[in-house]
């Protein structure tokens, strides 16, 4: 797969929760039309990295640029307008609202700009991508099954027409079959031109579709490489199962 120029760069990002130093000089980049996987054990700082990118957490030091623009200090909604959207961990749908409303809200910035017709077209496109959502358009989103909710969460993020789509644990808590379907959808999205940054517990599944990957440990990037390299790398297994894994 051909990938383009650099879209997102983090260099030397440090971030704190109160006094807790959670990101320690994180540097990574994502090229256009690439799928990049961010791997690591619980508490390694993956989700925090994503929060920092989306401006939900302000880094203490370090630069984050998107399409050549420095985005540190921007408001979250401004980052969304620039073209970064995130599918947060645990879906975070607007449960009491309908499926259609969730999608509409995904396109909030465009609706406010008065581009309603375009948005309605996009909704139809999401329904093509996930037909089950079309069937449940009027249903409360909280009543959907886990897999359907995940589809809706992805659909909502796509409604902003992002240049970079960030997914945080999209397969968490899903049945294996559904998880595979989601992974498939993600690779499909890339082929339609969306750049993707993916955090996933299921490392094998993530790396199966990714071009490149980073492994994080205790707030630092400890490893990076192409997907094939990482899949073969002992360190990756160590990060999940402990270093003695292969030696047993």
């Amino acid at each position: 797969m051909m990938t383009g120029s650099v879209l997102l760069t983090l260099s030397g990002v440090n971030a704190y929760y109160g006094q807790l130093h959670v990101l320690k000089g994180v540097s990574l980049h994502v090229n256009e039309r690439e799928i990049v996987a961010l791997l690591g054990a619980n508490g390694a700082g993956k989700t925090t990295t994503l929060r920092t990118i989306c401006a939900l957490l302000k880094p203490a030091t370090g630069r984050i640029t998107f399409a050549g623009k420095d985005i540190v200090g921007m408001r979250p909604e401004a980052v969304v307008r620039l073209g970064i959207t995130q599918v947060p961990e645990g879906r975070q749908l607007f449960g009491p609202l309908s499926v259609r409303d969730n999608l509409l809200l995904g396109a909030y910035t465009r609706l406010c700009a008065g581009r309603k017709a375009e948005v309605l077209e996009d909704i139809e496109r999401i329904f093509e991508l996930f037909p089950i959502l079309g069937e449940r358009a009027g249903q409360r989103s909280g009543s959907l099954s886990g897999g359907e909710q995940q589809m809706l969460a992805i659909g909502r993020a796509l409604m902003a027409r992002p240049r970079l789509l960030i997914l945080d644990e999209p397969c968490l808590g899903l049945a294996p079959l559904v998880a595979r379907q989601i992974i498939h959808t993600i690779s499909q999205l890339r082929s339609q031109g969306t750049t993707i940054l993916l955090v996933e517990q299921n490392a094998r599944a993530a790396l199966s579709i990714a071009d490149r990957g980073y492994v994080m440990e205790t707030g630092k990037v400890v490893l990076e490489g192409s997907a094939e390299e990482l899949l073969r790398n002992r360190e990756v297994r160590r990060a999940y199962l402990g270093k003695d894994y292969e030696e047993v």
Partner: protein, 296 residues
């Protein structure tokens, strides 16, 4: 007690209750957006009535213009309050936020007294001092205004929340503010909007009821407390529940007076709060709220 008497209590109860309901709705909107109980809510009601007095009675503006302007002015005060006192502290513990709204309420009350003086001010009813009589049950024409505007406000709000993107965005912020931010919704603007909306609703309540109750700078506290009861009875965070809760408080209060033995009407406010306490002890999620499971 005769049927006519009973109906009379109901009519008044519903009217007074719908004002409580509007106040309760105001509480709910701010609570949903920020998790704060705004103790200055009663002052919004009062300011609505007083500003309306100035515009309608003193400046002789037409009814609708005075009404709209007064509502807008109070909405602006709500926005200012949010901007100056709530936003800088939004990450503070809830108690601090509650107390700062207390501070604002003291400030607004003082300012209102400074401007409009200590005494109550009379506002003429919108359609004159007349009553309709259904049998021997009297329905003051202003009651119809109160009920009508309440229904209009509630329906309007429903439409706003269900059928406009801004309304939905506001709901989204209340449901999950972080997810809303990730969808590109400016949470701080929505919080500001909710203060404006909440202030406007309370101002409306103050305006429609002041021909019956007179407009007075210190009338806010009691209305706010009753509205507060309504909010809890309806289930904290539930808008329609809050309106219903307010109406229930209104009806119970009037029936309480009706059924109280001679000379015991002094307990009417205690009655409302006893109901509130029972509610809190037995079903704290309110009549219309969903029981929540406690998490970490």
């Amino acid at each position: 007690m005769s049927l006519a008497e009973l109906l009379q209590y109901l009519v008044t109860g519903v009217t007074v209750g719908s004002v409580y309901g509007l106040v309760a709705l105001g509480f709910t909107i701010i609570y949903n957006a920020t998790g704060i109980i705004n103790f200055a809510q009663g002052e919004f009601v009062v300011l609505g009535g007083l500003i309306f007095y100035s515009l309608y009675v003193a400046a002789h503006l037409p009814l609708v213009a005075a009404l709209v302007l007064a509502v807008a002015a109070v909405a602006l005060i709500g926005v200012l309050m949010e901007r100056l006192t709530i936003r800088p502290l939004i990450n503070s513990p809830v108690v601090t936020l509650i107390i700062i709204t207390v501070g604002v309420s003291v400030l607004l009350r003082g300012a209102a007294k400074l401007i409009w003086g200590p005494e109550a001010l009379p506002v003429p009813p919108f359609s004159g001092e007349h009553s309709l009589f259904v049998g021997s049950v009297a329905v003051h024409l202003q009651y119809l205004w109160v009920l009508g505007l309440t229904v209009l406000a509630v329906v309007g709000l429903r439409l706003f929340f269900d059928h406009t993107i801004v309304g939905k965005a506001m709901q989204a912020c209340a449901i999950n503010s972080e997810a809303a931010q990730l969808a590109g919704i400016s949470v701080s603007r929505m919080v500001q909007g909710s203060f404006a909306l909440s202030a406007a609703l309370s101002a409306l309540a103050g305006i429609v009821i002041c021909p019956i109750t007179l407009a007075s700078y210190d009338g806010g506290a009691l209305l706010a407390l009753k509205g507060f009861c309504g909010t809890i009875i309806g289930g904290l965070g539930n808008g329609l529940g809050a309106v219903m809760g307010g109406v229930i408080i209104g009806i119970l209060e009037k029936l309480g007076i009706g059924f109280a033995p001679q000379g015991y009407a002094g307990y009417q406010d205690a009655f409302a709060f006893v109901v509130l306490l029972l509610m809190l002890f037995i079903r704290p999620s309110g009549l219309f709220g969903r029981q929540r499971t406690e998490g970490i």
